[in-house]
Symmetry: C2
Subunit: 104 residues, 2 copies
């Protein structure tokens, strides 16, 4: 369980430096607050469609937001059939919290 590199820190901070992406990460704390879906949200994550609906952006924008969060390792994507499910990567988020005060 290593620490986050400087590059990883920067890309995580960059990803969080946008109001909608920051909000999405907060929403994902309670996956069951989203509409029901075939797979349980608290296991496999929330379907992109539901994230898009709550964020009120186009499909492509929602997809790109999640790709940015994923590149920063802040979320994990699980694809099941046609659906992409996103859930928080609590490990990275915890490391980020630890990095503040230690590295930062």
């Amino acid at each position: 369980m290593g620490e986050l590199s400087d590059d990883q820190l920067v890309s995580a901070f960059k990803a969080l430096g946008h109001p909608t992406r920051l909000a999405i990460l907060g929403w994902l704390k309670d996956g069951n607050s989203f509409p029901p879906q075939d797979q349980p949200a608290d296991e496999v994550g929330v379907c992109l469609k539901h994230i898009q609906a709550r964020a009120n952006v186009s499909q492509s924008t929602a997809s790109q937001f999640m790709a940015t969060l994923q590149r920063a390792d802040l979320v994990i994507c699980t694809r099941i059939g046609q659906f992409s499910h996103y859930r928080r990567n609590e490990q990275t988020i915890a490391k980020l919290g630890e990095a503040i005060g230690a590295d930062v």
Copy 2:
């Protein structure tokens, strides 16, 4: 001692989402690692000139970096005579760490 608003979180993350600004905040943890100056660095902060020299950027760029960090409340500026001294705002940094996991 309130918490950070969403806007404050976003602007703090945005400010940290740049490798040089992130590095500067780390450097400021040990003000005495900079060249000596009239005022003690661990009391009043580090002179902009020394930050500029270590970051290896132009004077105007260094000034703007610090202004960005200051707008995000991550550093405090103390002007003494002609010199602007910058030190970490540990209070905001601590709140930011707490916000990760709570809000984020």
